[in-house]
Symmetry: C2
Subunit: 113 residues, 2 copies
DNA sequence: CATTCATATGAATATATTATCATATGTTTG
DNA sequence: CAAACATATGATAATATATTCATATGAATG
């Protein structure tokens, strides 16, 4: 039976959850944030907030060379932050899910204080 | 006058907010995530979820040398993710605010899928 | 006030990461 | 099916980052 929790109760659970997280998960967590921690990659993510785009469009938007962009797209893809599909010659990239949005929104809140 | 928003409406605003974020803020955002993106630093943060601790305690918990820990504490401090106060000879560190918790919780949600 | 304890810091080394260049792969089209 | 277009990839060089070592700073205490 799932009881609804008060906000402060939920906060306590988060504390407990994180305080007791194992080393492997912490390492995965660091890896995840490392992916967000590069300005090329975060610019790609922000760009994809406008909607799905192919590689050429992303290069144009960021004013960066295609190879550099492709390398970073691969890292974002492996980390499951973006997904892709082929459309003819082009590869169309888009954000993988809403976690990307939430994580970035939290980050923005922090820096805007 | 502040109107309450539906969840989907809020999501749209976040999209718009991030899609139109300027280069400087994106760069700051990358810097912020870079701080989370190191396993020593994230282990320190997780350690501090148990409550405030001095440097020696953190070193013991992480089984790491004092200098390495101090260097990383400084980075966390400058990024305003932790705060410190002196207590006699010791320096007591603690998490700066709830954003750290929220950001890490979002990250954990992502990797646990 | 000299010593000890706790922490911080600078320099150096080791390691990791990114962008670039050259080229390969995959897809369409004449 | 050869050429053109779109993207991916491997190697390399440039740069950034973390840890270690040695030492400095700062506070308590006999």
């Amino acid at each position: 039976m799932q009881e609804k929790q008060s906000s402060s109760q939920m906060q306590k659970n988060i504390n407990h959850l994180i305080a007791n997280i194992d080393e492997v998960e912490l390492s995965d967590l660091a890896e995840l944030f490392k992916v967000f921690g590069d300005s090329t990659r975060i610019r790609i993510l922000a760009d994809l907030f406008q909607g799905e785009k192919n590689v050429t469009e992303i290069c144009d938007d960021l004013q960066m060379n295609q190879s550099a962009v492709s390398h970073q797209l691969k890292i974002l893809k492996v980390s499951r932050l973006i997904k892709s599909r082929r459309e003819g010659k082009a590869m169309i990239y888009s954000l993988a899910d809403d976690h990307v949005k939430t994580i970035m929104a939290m980050g923005i809140e922090h820096i805007e204080e």
